[in-house]
Amino acid sequence: MNPVTGWAFLILSSLKAASLLGLLFLIIAVWTLVERRGAGFIQNRLGPNRVGPQGLFQPVADGLKNFVKEETLPPFSDRLLFLLAPMMAFVPAFLTFSVIPFAAPLPTPWGLLGMQVADLPVGFLFILAISSLGVYGFVLAGWSSNSKYSLLGGLRGSAQLISYEIAMGLAAVSVLVFSGNITLGEIITRQQQSTWFVLPLFIAFFVFLIAAYAETNRLPFDLPEAESELVAGYHTEYSAMKFAMFYLSEYSNMLTASGLIVCLFFGGWDIPFTSWDNSAPWTVWKSLTTFCAFWGKTLSFYFLYVWVRWTLPRFRFDQLMDLGWKVLLPTALAFVMVVGVAVWALDASGIGAGARGALILAVVNVALGFLLFRVLDRNRVLGGAGNRRRAESHRAAAGREA
């Protein structure tokens, strides 16, 4: 079946965009509740359960509240940028999801309809480019508020996002090298043909996962917000819907990151252990089941965000930088080298980067993972710049005692 073209393409794409946006909003609304009830359950309490059955209408009440609350506009702020910043955070957060394929192609009377809003040939680069734009929203919010807490939050946000973007990009580079393509659809196809990339590229997945937490400003890396230190960080001065836009963009970024992890490492909309779902002829039934598979996987990672938030304490800022630049970046760089060499070796030996090649690389990953988590992770304390000095003073003190 041929892809949809012409007017049908325009109309169907608009429909896809609108319904995906609605779906994202719905999931985000539900997830604000999941977050709060998850927090409650982890702390052995119930969480908000009063509005509607099991508190299901709590997000509606929250939304209404945000609409009718007073919009504050601090007189000391830079008015234009203050108003612009929430939008600059909001738009890229929702834009990035448009290239993520979320189901098998759907056959329609007008042709085959790809189940992603925009099937860009540069897929992954688009995500990197647009998600980096979000940092402007945070920095401008922090700066235009003209308040100490906001400024500190914005500065922290910019430093953190830029640092972890490198590790994130490099971790993704090993996926791109291994799959030989940067279109997300092609990456998923490669995973369906061989195996999910989490096996051969586990180290990259690990780095990507951590960097994704830092990129979305979530605990343990929520330093731009850091309630206990900075009131609310970059959105301290914001209220009502403007605040809600930052809130929504945070949750949307998390959802996009989860979707991206699923696409790059967990086979996208692939249903594991079967192959009937990933080849023509495409049917509505296939689209539906793969749709459920994709969202099942994505929401699991979305829940992981909640779970991690109520488990891990916040890093100190120098520790955060230490982890990003001295641990994740070298790890990701070294792993790109490993994958590069492995792909070259597999090609040279005629095995290729298919299922067998992936399994060989998975074995390599087990060894590397052992090295990383059992050997290098030991005897190490993230301490930032002062750590070496402190270690030296320890040694000196130990020398005096002996």
Partner: protein, 168 residues
């Protein structure tokens, strides 16, 4: 002696970030499925491990005799003993020469709920009660007069008994 800073050595030889993280995640996952402690208050006023103590001292209650009149004989001991000075008592005498309280008001805002009034009362008339749902729409509703005190129906506090300090 020179000022020294004591630096504590971290247990670096046994530290592992990944291991500690996984252990923490396992712990919170266990908590996710544990029974919850929340008591759903307005519907549920006692929980599986909590009931209000019979010694709780809340808003007052005046006991009545078989005719329905307040048992108070207006002896004046409770306003005397009250550390917060929240009881206003105007005594009076009826035709048979029985003393009664013409005015008996307790300002529950002033009251510190010490329970001395109950302890000192020779007629066991005034009591502090096991009761805590006292919300009102205006401040003057918190001055309880004798009609209000006699119509309260909640449990009265058993107070602390020196002979049974643990309440057994």
């Amino acid at each position: 002696m020179a000022v020294t800073v004591k630096t504590l050595r971290r247990p670096e030889s046994s530290s592992s970030y990944v291991e500690a993280t996984i252990r923490g995640m396992a712990l919170t996952l266990r908590h996710l499925f544990q029974p919850k402690w929340t008591m759903q208050y307005p519907e549920q006023k006692t929980a599986r491990d909590w009931t209000i103590s019979p010694r709780f001292r809340g808003t007052h209650r005046m006991s009545v005799d078989e005719t329905g009149a307040a048992r108070c004989v207006a002896c004046g001991l409770c306003p005397q003993v009250c550390p917060a000075n929240c009881i206003r008592l105007v005594p009076a005498e009826d035709a048979q020469g029985n003393r009664y309280a013409a005015v008996y008001e307790i300002d529950e805002f002033r009251c510190v709920f010490c329970g001395y009034c109950q302890e000192v009362c020779p007629e066991e008339a005034i009591h502090v009660g096991v009761h805590y749902e006292n919300a009102e729409y205006s401040r003057d509703r918190f001055v309880y007069d004798i009609a209000r005190l006699t119509t309260q129906t909640h449990e009265v506090s058993s107070l602390w008994d020196p002979g049974d300090p643990k309440g057994e």
